[in-house]
Amino acid sequence: MFSVRIHGRGGQGVVTAAELLSAAAFVEGLQAQAFPSFGSERMGAPVLAFCRVDTRPIRLREPIAEPDAVVVADPTLLHHVDVFGGLAGDGYMLINSMHTIGELGLQELHERHHPERVVSVPASEIARACLGRPIPNVALLGALARLSALISLGSLEAVVRERFSGTAAEGNIAAARQAAAQVAELAHA
């Protein structure tokens, strides 16, 4: 079982991200489950979404308290919410930010963790460039795909094409690729 917790704010497509992730895993023949943290959130409020992926059918329905990966779509949450709570020692952390992990004040965390698994990517900027709108969700999934190898970029692209049409699909795919490339670059740096 591999579990992912995504933190963001209403309007960033966090719930969609978890759904797309589960759909991509499904395409790869895996079992997957996605669900939101169920709130009455309005635009801008903190939101949470979860995704579990496994080779066996998934019966668990509790929120994910001990994720293998955490994605933070809005770095301002770093100061409000315990986004890394319960993260496995060798877990992945992906933060949407133009700043480096050090600049975000997470150096200590970085060092305690496997440093190559703690990454920031400017997903909103990438999305703005590729899509015209700073909706970071699909770009973050591209980065996560590259970071964790949980899903392939190919399956992500397939489900993005299914979910969106025309320029929205192509823009999101371009964003996912670009974010994935940046993660790959970081890994080699």
Partner: protein, 353 residues
């Protein structure tokens, strides 16, 4: 158990009128411009950016507080206003406030008014009931009509954002023709919400011949305040229907809430008027009549009217509705204001196309 000391309210600049108001004599200033305003719904609530309902409620309740010397009890229906103002363990309300159910706010308000009568406090303490359009014109209509008919001393305020926003933008009986909602998608030749006249809660209220009925928008906040203060000068049932754009449900720019509310009025789609005892008493005239398209285009809920060839027929139908309002209510200076009793006009069979 001690509470932190009350803070002196800071002065907020809320718009040109409010600031301009400082130059006026105290009694001429807007309620919001005054340092003594009640902040009945105070900062920190969770409404979306640009929420017309939050803005409208603030002005309405502060004005009601001003008119009564702070002696107001509010009964709120379920809906965005209730949800965004009372996220446990916080509350934005600085007046006595009760939320019971979705469909019963007018009756709860009636109950509060009855208790005040029984306790001999009805002359000092006044009651405001409030809810969204769904809570008012749909599920709450029976309780509202009962409250009117019994003559209870309640001001009921409907914040009309033209759909069930709290549950994710479904159609209500106040959703205008052709608007897209989650239950009126423009699919299979359907135009969005079906064409028709919809349900006018203000006209229904007038049919009860209650002392005071008025409509307003958040574009004219001074007018809104004045109407609340006027309403509080009457006894018995009163009804105020306020158009409050919802950026989320309308797909409009949060920064354009006021402008869109103004366009609703200036196109004639939302007539702003007052009625006394069932008779039309005053209308806010349109300064410069604009085509409905100017109002429709900035809202994504109407996007299907303009995408790929568009639906000029539907735009024309909405234009006809606006034109009819202009006629019926005498919204233009040059238009001959319709005489007296609007319901008579209705009874005369002018029920539109």
């Amino acid at each position: 158990m001690s509470r932190p000391p009350e803070q002196r309210e800071r002065f907020y600049q809320t718009g040109t009128l409010a600031v301009g108001g400082r130059l006026l004599a105290e009694e001429q200033r807007t309620v919001q411009a005054g340092e003594s305003r009640a902040n009945a719904i105070t900062k920190g609530h969770r409404a979306c950016q640009g929420c017309g309902e939050a803005l409208g409620a603030r002005y309405v309740l502060d004005a009601a507080m001003r008119a009564t010397g702070g002696q107001v009890i509010a009964a709120n229906a379920t809906g965005c206003l209730e949800v965004f103002s009372t996220p446990y363990p916080e509350s934005s309300w600085r007046l006595p406030w009760i939320h019971s159910l979705f469909g019963n706010a007018p009756a709860v308000a009636s109950g509060v008014a009855a208790a005040l009568r029984a306790k001999g406090r009805a002359s000092e303490v006044r009651v405001v009931g409030q809810g969204g359009d769904g809570g008012t014109v749909d599920i709450g209509m029976a309780c509202l009509s009962g409250m009117f008919e019994r003559g209870d001393d309640v001001l009921y305020v409907c914040y009309d954002n033209q759909a069930y926003m709290n549950t994710g933008v479904q159609r209500s009986a106040a959703t205008p023709p052709a608007a897209r909602t989650a239950t009126t998608e423009p699919l299979g030749g359907h135009p969005g919400n079906e064409l028709g006249q919809g349900k006018s809660a203000p006209l229904i209220a007038m049919a009860h011949e209650i002392p005071y009925v008025a409509t307003a928008t958040v574009a004219e906040l001074r007018d809104l305040e004045a109407k609340v203060i006027r309403a509080m000068s009457f006894r018995g049932p009163r009804y105020l229907h306020v158009l409050v754009p919802c950026p989320l449900g309308w797909g409009s720019d949060p920064a354009q809430t006021i402008r869109i509310a103004r366009l609703a009025k200036e196109t004639g789609l939302f007539p702003v008027f007052e009625a006394l005892h069932g008779r039309l008493a005053a209308v806010s005239q349109i300064r410069r009549k604009l085509p409905v398209e100017e109002y429709l285009r900035p809202q994504r809920r109407y996007a299907h009217l303009f995408a790929d060839g568009g639906r000029p027929d539907l735009v024309a139908a909405l234009q006809a509705q606006a034109d009819r309002n202009v006629q019926r209510f005498g919204l233009l200076a040059e238009a001959e204001p319709r005489e007296g009793d609007l319901l008579h006009v209705l009874a005369d069979g002018e029920r539109g196309p």
